[in-house]
């Protein structure tokens, strides 16, 4: 008797995003990955083309797989402020705030962006699934939490000509400052946000409007060098901008099984996003205790000599004592430097910042070599350009 597998009611495999038909048509590389259960391009053409398009033209990246949650109701502000470490009262209506949130031990659960419609209406956008956690955070408060991950499609339009693309598409965002957030047309929201450190926007529409907005932008983008990109190029620019990635530069604490793998905002260099003076928020007492006791780690931006990407390299003090490792490292084509984010054990990266070395392994056609390369800690992002903040934006 042969057992026949019938088509199950629950679809198997990765789910297509609302933009998948357009992405599939553009994909030359056929390089796909799973992102939060959705099929997402790693590379569509070549990573070099895509990287330079972000820095020199305009690019579309499908961010629909991001988790999106709507928090509405009389206590929405209280719930958001209870969740995140920064003070959402200081983010005005129509503004977006970068935020971190922690467990009771002050360890980062995830980071993301909070979109404030009003004090009774917020959208939280993040990498990790958060519905269960939000329901628990909201317990005892008068709010409704809705998972919009599937119902809202989103595109990230980034690069120096992104403003021009929008303008030619008939979308007026001239007055929007970084982190502004507007309903530019009915059911079409645009935020001046992104993960590139450059001029850019994110566009949010109901799922069934997805292809229409793609086509509209694509048509307008023809003269502005618009390209569709995958996640690999984006990863390069986010390192240049100094942004951290969940599961890479920190381990979301709900996803780790081993003890002490969580990190606090301070340990990731985000002290400024912790507002101790706003009243209680999750993990506040533990974070205060860490402020007294001192942080255990420091995530730092580093410049590594040479040009060999040092992803994963161990970091040594005086070339002898192992004190940390690179969490994300690339050769930056724009900065023309070998750059990385690295986690160091305290006091390295805090009070001891010199005489640090990366042990860089290089593989060349079957031969391995390794070399101690000098490490310099940087405080500024590796990529910064005034065009990112100019309002109204320049044409390119």
């Amino acid at each position: 008797m042969s057992a026949k597998i019938k088509a199950a009611a629950v679809p198997m495999g990765l789910i297509e995003t609302p933009f998948y038909p357009r992405l599939a048509a553009l994909s030359r590389a056929k390089s796909w990955i799973g992102w939060a259960g959705y099929i997402s391009p790693l590379v569509l053409d070549t990573v070099e083309f895509e990287y330079f398009a972000i820095r020199n033209q305009a690019t579309l990246f499908d961010i629909s797989p991001m988790h999106k949650y709507r928090i509405t109701g009389p206590d929405a502000l209280a719930v958001v402020n209870r969740l995140i470490t920064r003070d959402i009262r200081k983010v005005r209506d129509g503004r977006v705030g970068y935020a971190m949130w922690c467990d009771e031990d002050g360890m980062l659960i995830d980071d993301g962006t909070v979109f404030r419609f009003s004090q009774t209406d917020f959208r939280l956008c993040c990498q990790e699934p958060m519905y269960g956690w939000l329901m628990d955070v909201a317990w005892g408060f008068d709010v409704v939490v809705e998972d919009e991950s599937d119902s809202i499609a989103a595109l990230s339009l980034q690069g120096p000509t992104s403003y021009s693309v929008l303008k030619d598409a008939g979308l007026d965002v001239a007055e929007m400052k970084p982190f502004d957030w507007r309903e530019v047309e009915p059911d079409l929201w645009i935020s001046r946000t992104g993960f590139t450190g450059d001029l850019g926007y994110e566009i949010w529409v109901p799922r069934d409007h997805a292809l229409a907005i793609w086509d509209r932008l694509w048509a307008a983008g023809a003269d502005w060098g618009l390209r569709a990109i995958g996640g690999q190029a984006l990863n390069m620019v986010r390192i240049e901008a100094g942004y951290i990635a969940a599961g890479v530069d920190f381990q979301p604490v709900h996803a780790v099984m081993r003890l002490h793998r969580g990190r606090t905002p301070m340990e990731l260099g985000f002290d400024r996003t912790v507002a101790f003076d706003k009243g209680h928020f999750n993990g506040r007492r533990a974070l205060l205790a860490q402020q007294d006791a001192g942080q255990r780690f420091a995530l730092v931006k580093i410049d590594i000599g040479g040009f060999k990407p040092a992803d994963g390299a161990l970091i040594y003090h005086r070339k002898r004592t192992e004190v940390g490792h690179v969490t994300s490292g690339i050769w930056s084509p724009t900065a023309k430097r070998n750059i990385a984010l690295a986690e160091l054990k305290a006091p390295f990266g805090i009070s001891v910042t010199t005489d640090l070395w990366a042990d860089v392994y290089v593989h060349e056609e079957g031969v391995w070599r390794h070399k101690m390369v000098a490490v310099v800690i940087e405080t500024k992002p590796f990529f910064a350009n005034t065009r990112a903040r100019a309002t109204p934006p320049r044409a390119f």
């Binding site: 956690w133 317990w139 408060f141 209680h280």
Partner: protein
């Protein structure tokens, strides 16, 4: 000598049950100014007396002392009322009632019990183990949060090490046995050695008294031993349990505490993550440098406001297991009842209806489905036989803890359901004391729901929170809150839901106050 309300007390205590009073006294005896706020008109909580008929005073809920620690009494300057040690009579359907006193077992007719030696051996073994656990009841449960480099952690580890040394001293065989049975179930332990008869029934019933658990539930050996922490003596306080509560209150007053009754706390004032006093139901404000709460753990959180608690703590407190299973039935009798086969002394004893361990387990089954036991486990005592001052005109009071009775009865606690509970109780008692029903002139039935309504105890639970292995020691009431400090600085949990748990013993209150002082809150 009540102080004007613009003064700031060192501490406000919520609830004048005996634990709240023990906490207040502990602080006041260290020179702290303390105010105890009780919502009811009288003090005592679950350990109070009530006049339930003309000329009849009954222990409203708790009636017997199992665990009151002389060390605690002395420390708090409490002059406890006189009490008498009672024999336990485990009633048998065949009339061969079994009498247990300490480690002695005989039949009620004076003849030898075949399992007497086995019982003595088990009793010896368990009290030895229980003494070890008893030591832990007087201590704040350890926290290893600081890691091994931390002085405070090391001190606690030293305390734990003492338990370890105690274990070692027991010898290898005993230690192995202790660890083997600690988390196991009472039913298996008992039936390893005993026939499933009234003696086994008594052991099983005592292992689950007040619990949402049957003798086959895991962890019931632990609860069995916990009750034996002070040797396992069962004592009846003269003047009723209310006299014990009064003794706690008198010690509190003597130490200089203010006790205000008749208006409860509506809210705890929190400023800068620090407890600053309370607002009463009538809106008046009492300022204080610290607040201790003897009400349920979840209610203690809500009193301050859920916004002050981390999500994980809220989740744990929401899921705290606290379904009460014990109803109290108080019967006023026109005369002394006649239990077949029991002399006057034994009739005045602790009368148990738990004819076998299986009987106890079966009694537990219905409560899981929202029903009451048709054949409940009953712990009855007629305090007026030992203490005639409780009743006038030859009347008597029969005080019965009836188990298992659900908090949320399927169909609700209608008058008919209460009547059924009363009749079930009477039916069981009539088996051993025919004609008892005709003596009843007045009755009072308190379901777990009534107990909650009257005392605020969540679920009407005996211990405010189940004493399961997931809710004891370092996990009591919940993980992360076992050291009395309750999130907000200067806010402490001091009632039965804190370590070591309920029963009339005052240890939770005393420990909480001592921890507050140790933490330097009032320094």
């Amino acid at each position: 000598m009540s102080k004007p309300s613009d003064l700031t007390y060192d501490a406000v205590v919520i609830g004048a049950g005996h634990n709240g009073l023990a906490a207040a006294t502990t602080l006041a005896r260290q020179g702290k100014s303390v105010c105890v706020i009780e919502s009811r008109d009288g003090i005592g909580g679950m350990a109070r007396n009530a006049a339930i008929a003309p000329g009849v005073v009954a222990p409203k809920m708790a009636h017997l002392l199992y665990n009151l620690n002389p060390k605690t009494l002395k420390e708090l300057g409490i002059t406890a009322p006189k009490s008498v040690s009672l024999p336990t009579v485990s009633l048998a359907d065949d009339g061969r009632h079994v009498v247990i006193q300490g480690d002695l077992v005989i039949y009620a007719d004076g003849s030898a019990h075949p399992e007497a030696a086995t019982f003595a051996a088990l009793h010896k073994r368990l009290t030895k183990f229980a003494a070890l656990l008893g030591q832990m009841s007087l201590k704040t449960p350890p926290s290893l949060a600081g890691g091994l480099m931390d002085m405070a952690t090391l001190q606690e580890l030293a305390g734990l090490a003492k338990l370890g040394i105690g274990l070692k001293r027991m010898g290898k065989k005993d230690m192995r046995e202790f660890l083997r049975i600690l988390l196991s179930n009472a039913y298996d332990l008992i039936l390893d050695d005993f026939a499933d008869a009234p003696l086994a029934g008594m052991l099983a019933a005592d292992a689950v008294r007040g619990a949402y658990a049957g003798p086959r539930s895991p962890g019931t050996v632990f609860s069995m031993m916990y009750r034996l922490g002070n040797g396992g003596d069962v004592r009846l306080p003269m003047g009723g349990m209310g006299a014990v509560a009064d003794a706690f209150a008198n010690a509190a007053k003597l130490a200089g505490c203010d006790i205000r009754t008749g208006c409860g706390v509506a809210q705890v004032i929190v400023e800068n993550d620090t407890a600053r006093g309370v607002i009463l139901a009538d809106g008046s404000v009492i300022n204080a440098r610290s607040v201790l709460s003897s009400i349920g753990a979840f209610q203690t959180m809500q009193m301050a406001g859920v916004q002050h608690y981390d999500t994980e703590a809220v989740r744990r407190l929401r899921n705290l297991r606290n379904k009460g299973t014990v109803a109290k039935v108080n019967l006023v009798l026109s005369g002394a009842p006649d239990f077949v086969g029991l002399d006057a002394k034994l009739t005045a004893g602790r009368l148990l209806i738990a004819t076998s361990a299986t009987y106890v387990e079966r009694a537990f089954n219905p409560v899981k489905y929202g029903d009451m036991s048709n054949a409940p486990v009953i712990e009855a005592v007629i305090p007026s036989l030992s203490d005639p001052s409780l009743c006038s005109d030859g009347q008597h009071i029969l005080s019965a803890n009836v188990q298992y009775v659900p908090y949320a009865l399927a169909g609700g606690w209608t008058p008919a359901a209460r009547q059924k509970l009363l009749e079930l109780t009477l039916d069981r008692l009539e088996v051993y004391a025919p004609g008892l029903g005709r003596l009843v002139t007045h009755s009072e039935v308190l379901t777990p729901l009534d107990i909650e309504t009257q005392t605020g105890a969540p679920g009407g639970h005996w211990h405010h929170a189940e004493m399961g292995i997931d809710q004891i020691l370092t996990l009591r009431p919940v993980n992360g809150m076992a050291r009395y400090g309750f999130g907000i600085a200067g806010y402490y949990l001091c009632g039965a839901s804190a370590h070591p748990g309920g029963d009339v013993m005052g240890t939770a209150g005393r420990n909480a106050a001592r921890q507050l002082l140790k933490d330097g809150v009032l320094a």
